[in-house]
Amino acid sequence: MLKLSLGTPTQNCRGLSRRHALRLGTCGLIGGMTLPRLLELQAKAAISTGPKAKSCIFLFLEGGPPHQDMWDPKPEAPAEIRGPFQAIRTNVPGTFVTDQLPLCAKIADKYTILRNHGHNDNGHSTGYHYVMTGRRASFADGDNPIPNNEFYPSFGSAVSRSLGAQGSLPPYINLPHPMQGGGAGFYGAQHAPFVIEADPSQPDFDVKDLQPPAELSTSRLGVRRRLLAGLDALELQHQQPTGQAMSTYYEKAFQLIASEDARHAFNIHAEPNSVRDAYGRTQFGQCALLARRLVEGGCRFVGVDAPGWDVHFNCFPSLKTDLIPYADQAFSALVTDLEQRGLLDETLVVMMGEMGRTPRINAQAGRDHWSMAQTIVFAGGGTIPGQVIGATDKHASATIGAPVGVNDLLRTISVLMGIDPDRTYLSPLGRPVPIVDGGQVIKGLI
């Protein structure tokens, strides 16, 4: 009647529901399992649930995407709030998005729209820091040291540290711009993202330092390899752990260079034209496609930073031409592609920015920063698709009820990936710092 397989990878992502547990309780004892014991197991299962998501693709719309112009339309609101875009039906009855997302509207049963995210950090660099690390920035907005998360690691670094690499690809890759909030903080350089600064939509796209300079002939490459291997063999006898650590990274680098899988993962040119077109021949589209290839190659956390969303001035033309359509195409293609490849269940896709945008259109026909309400879109990785979670008020200016916070989001991703969000690592001062600073798993999402 009821199968208990807590802690095994095959278990249902929701673990054991309280209702099931209660039913068990009323059934009396099953194999010595008392209600309290079951409830305790359930409490534990919330943390130790077998991972659903092997990897995460985090699509970050830098600058703050306007939630009301995309995922949270307010057709009843006055024009200065509603904006020029219309609400359209999706393939999920009762769910509406704006007409700028026609492709996503067709597959709304494959993802979930969370409309009640919000926080109160209204700056770019500070908001970015907050979303990536779950911690308030200690610096003023506008200070842009790179990376700006000097102390707290970004979530990708936590994934790298907790799960490590699978295969020859680095566990945490970031493209196409180094993330300001994406540094490893006190975790150190080995958990910093492997950054691909090139634009994969360009014909000459290549990953920096992955291939030797083109000027080198095959025979020279052969000589170099032989010399280095020979020197290594002579050096081996007097190496200490520190030197060995460097050796390990050299080995990983060699694996990365030599690995057919890795080379293949990075080689977006190998992708059929039809697929490349489906994602859109845009920077964002091709980054999303590359992210899929990297996930297939074993990368755990791919951060894609899509710039240009800070639309303070005359925003609607650019939203209509460059921004939303590109995101619409990239996101829908990614979700569809992952599903067709059977990867959607094990790949979590999250799309959001550091904030939403002001309800009222400003005097320059733009929208300003508005961190109190934002929409986050989730697909795959053990999330329940086809839902709308939460809502904002009639002007999309505030969440109804308490907002889902940054740490709720990070805790949810953490649990989905099988990482204990409360696991601590010691800071240089010896203070245990948990991966996620509080928060609760988002209700109804998993």
Binding site: P36, L210, L227, H238, Y249, F254, P428, P432
Partner: protein, 815 residues
């Protein structure tokens, strides 16, 4: 409270038991192994939830006391009075007298057990007996209810440092649901903690355990904080047995922890205390205080913590079978280092060769590789004192000031975005002159501490632009100049030290007179005038300003409060100042501090060689804080000149300097080394050609190389910011980067010059080795590299040999 009945009972019991003890002792049979000894000599249990850890000692033929507790057969007679578990924890069952009988091999020993007051025990003190439960079960840890905002609406003070707040949270908040005095079983506190109802932290306290019973009784007694009729005696300290112990590989040792209160009463709190090893690879400790020695020789300190009190047990783990050949002694460093190594049975490695010494000392003192000519002349110099002369020459080089300025800019947080480029330059020039003129350290650190005036004028004034709050300044100065991390005490009692929040605000009081004034030209001036005492963060009472561990400061006729602090800092009696800088320099040159982390000096984090650190601090004071002279002493020791090649007996030693510890080159030094070896200078964006990476004060100058090799962001005063951790991106960069390819194949570079010359391939290889590794190649290496010249044309071969050497671990590390 009337204490007499208890004392009378005790006396009576002791009288009765004297006879028993005498009998037991007479019955002992003396064998080769020493006599058994049981600690403590009587077990007194006066509460139902009390427990007493015993340790059974036996001396071996080498007169070492060994813990035999877990091998012993332990019985309680008669049964029914008390129980004892396999680890030697005695717990009460019913009032009465009993005997604990211990048998190890053919030896026996017995001690009396007194169980009393089971029906009318002393009432439970929240502060002394409930807080430790919350700590031990980790309820009040930073990942749980101890974090700043609590967990699910229930917030406790971290480590239980604020008993009153915790009491209120448990007893008063949440409409009193957490404790139900009339029906303790229904208390949310117990139900949650034992996971009888769902609890995110699962089963933190085992049902039916002593801890649950203690919680239960405390609630049943009315869940009081204090009792009107019982002035709860303060706990004055904790004691641990043993305080030091020699363990051989694989051996175990149980600890026994007691509190001592103002009445001198001792109570066993072993099972309530927390334990932590500072060197788990040598000796680790479990939650019940059982130490397990590994097979790595060395020393470990086991930190024991209970209710804000800390103490340590020092474990020494020697390798006894090792014969020790004492190397030559060049100075006092060697004497003390060899003594320690001899005691541990670790043989130091041999003296490093000349080439290694040249490269090591150059990279360490001036952050710069020796040139080919310097290497050749040093290697060919037959003079026996050439190492001493090299040290003197290096200390006289301009790069000495450049390199040490860079290091101090990092820890003085000269982040140009925060303190402005002018501020960073002002700081850089000031440091440069301090090092170039070799001003005494106490003098310039006083200047750093008491600086006033225009922050853009040469000087350290911009230090206070970052540390613009009194407490930020206090903790930075404390960590930087004293090696005391008082930061923890900002929010709570320091978890492994005696520093409290009072100490924290008392120190911050020295910096309350500081202000930044805007000057007409847009620059700022730092002014120190007056000041005030600061309130305690919890009680709000003003805390008199005082130095760490001192009495309230006297500011009579003082305008700048910081001067009082500076005077204390640099006086000879200061217990931290000289040690902190000695340890900092030691860590730079030897790859690891005598105290590690280097700026975390406290009793519970002892130096691996305390005598050596004391001697170094004394030496520094004797030479009036002359840092160059001090460096000379370090480098002239035989210890610094030890090879990094390990011996079987020292391969796993990481803390006693038995072999030189390899260090990755800092990002700037590595880039300069690449440039110097390739013969192609770097052009830094916005800087004149010829500037070297160690001279660039702008920590935000965009550079892919610096980013992946971990240049510090200058956000803390901690040297730990400089990450030496390797990454794949680093390896890829060195292997494939076009930037490196350009340098190696540059038409004015070293490789091109060599391949255009008429030197033989062997001569070319020799020079490339000298330029990168400062040594001649071995014949095997020469043969290997010559292969390139048979397979490729001369120019390609030269470049590829250089590339190979730059990618060798020997190049990337100081070894």
């Amino acid at each position: 409270m009337n204490r007499y009945p208890r004392l009378c009972l005790l006396k009576l019991c002791l009288l009765k038991l004297c006879a028993l003890i005498a009998l037991a002792v007479c019955g002992n049979f003396v064998s080769q192994a020493g006599e058994l000894e049981v600690s403590p000599s009587t077990v007194l249990l006066e509460r139902p939830e009390a427990s007493q850890q015993i340790i059974i000692w036996q001396a071996d033929s080498a007169q070492r006391r060994n813990d035999r507790t877990r091998e012993a057969t332990i019985r309680v007679e008669p049964a029914g009075i008390a129980t004892v578990d396999e680890r030697g924890l005695v717990r009460p069952l019913a009032n009465g007298l009993a005997t604990l009988l211990v048998t190890v091999g053919d030896q026996q020993k017995s001690i009396p057990i007194v169980v009393a007051r089971m029906n009318n025990p002393e009432k439970i003190s929240f502060q002394h007996e409930i807080i430790p439960i919350l700590t031990k079960a980790r309820c009040n840890s930073g990942g749980c209810h101890g974090k700043a905002e609590g967990q699910n609406g229930f917030k406790l003070s971290i480590f239980g440092f604020d008993a009153q707040a915790d009491y209120d949270a448990i007893v008063s908040e949440s409409r009193g649901r957490r404790v139900a005095v009339t029906n303790p079983t229904n208390s949310l506190l117990i139900q949650k903690a034992t996971a009888k109802i769902p609890h995110g932290g699962a089963e933190a306290i085992l049902p039916d355990s002593d801890r649950e019973r203690r919680l239960f009784r405390w609630i049943a007694e009315g869940a009081q904080f204090h009792f009107q009729d019982a002035a709860v005696p303060e706990i004055v300290r904790i004691e641990v047995e043993p305080q030091e112990q020699v363990l051989l590989a694989g051996e175990t040792q149980q600890l026994r922890v007691s509190t001592v209160d103002t009445l001198g009463r001792r109570q066993c709190v072993t099972s309530d205390s927390e334990f932590e090893s500072n060197a788990a690879s040598i000796a680790d400790v479990d939650a019940r205080g059982l130490i397990q020695a590994s097979s790595v020789p060395g020393e470990a300190a086991i930190l024991v913590r209970h209710l804000g009190h800390v103490t340590t047990c020092r474990i020494t783990q020697p390798r006894l079978e090792q014969t020790f050949e004492r190397p030559i002694e060049y100075n006092f460093i060697d004497t003390l280092a060899w003594e320690k190594l001899q005691r541990l049975g670790i043989q130091p490695s041999t003296l490093c060769d000349d080439a290694t010494f040249l490269r090591r000392a150059s990279l360490d003192v001036i952050g710069t590789l020796p040139t080919v000519d310097q290497a050749r002349s040093f290697l060919n110099d037959p003079a026996p004192d050439k190492r001493q002369r090299l040290i003197d020459e290096l200390l006289d080089r301009d790069e000495y000031a450049d390199y040490w300025t860079m290091k101090w800019l990092d820890i003085l947080r000269a982040d140009q975005l925060t303190i402005s480029p002018q501020g960073a330059v002002a700081m850089q020039r000031w440091l440069q002159s301090c090092f170039a003129e070799n001003r005494p350290y106490d003098e310039w650190s006083t200047e750093l501490l008491t600086v006033q005036g225009n922050t853009s004028a040469e000087g350290p004034g911009s230090f206070y632009k970052i540390l613009n709050k009194p407490d930020e300044a206090a903790r930075a100065v404390s960590q930087l100049l004293l090696g005391v991390r008082i930061e923890c005490a900002q929010c709570h009692h320091h978890p492994s030290e005696r520093w409290t929040q009072s100490d924290y605000v008392a120190l911050a009081g020295f910096f309350t007179g500081l202000s930044l004034k805007q000057l007409p030209n847009g620059e700022q001036a730092l002014i120190a005038l007056g000041g005030k005492d600061l309130p305690h963060p919890r009680s709000g009472e003003l805390v008199p300003t005082r130095v760490l561990g001192g009495s309230p400061a006297d500011f009579n006729k003082i305008t700048d409060r910081r001067q009082v602090l500076a005077a204390w800092l640099t006086q000879n009696e200061n217990p931290y100042f000289a040690k902190a800088i000695a340890n900092r320099l030691w860590a730079h040159y030897f790859g690891r501090g005598l105290i590690e982390p280097i700026d975390d000096i406290r009793e519970t984090n002892p130096a691996t060689n305390p005598a050596l650190l004391d001697a170094l601090a004394d030496h520094l004071r004797e030479i009036d804080f002359d840092l160059k002279a001090f460096t000379r002493t370090l480098l002239n020791s035989r210890l610094y000149q030890t090879s990094s090649q390990t011996l079987p007996s020292n391969a796993d030693d990481q803390q006693n300097f038995s072999h030189y510890l390899q260090k990755p080159l800092p990002a700037e030094v590595l880039l300069d080394a690449i440039n110097q070896s390739s013969g192609v200078a770097e052009e830094f964006n916005g800087w004149p050609v010829g500037y070297r990476a160690i001279q660039v004060w702008d920590n935000h100058m965009p550079s892919y190389f610096f980013r992946i090799f971990g240049r510090p962001v200058r956000a803390t005063v901690c040297e730990c910011e400089r990450s030496g951790e390797p990454s794949i991106a680093q390896a890829l960069h060195l292997l494939n980067a076009p930037e490196l390819f350009e340098k190696i194949s540059h038409r004015h570079g070293r490789a091109r010059r060599l391949s255009n010359s008429n030197q033989s391939p062997v001569e070319l290889i020799d020079e490339l080795y000298l330029s990168t590794l400062s040594r001649m190649p071995s014949s095997a290496e020469r043969d290997l590299m010559l292969q390139a010249f048979t397979d490729l044309d001369r120019r390609a071969a030269t470049e590829d040999v250089l590339w190979t050497l730059m990618n060798s671990k020997e190049f990337l590390f100081n070894h």
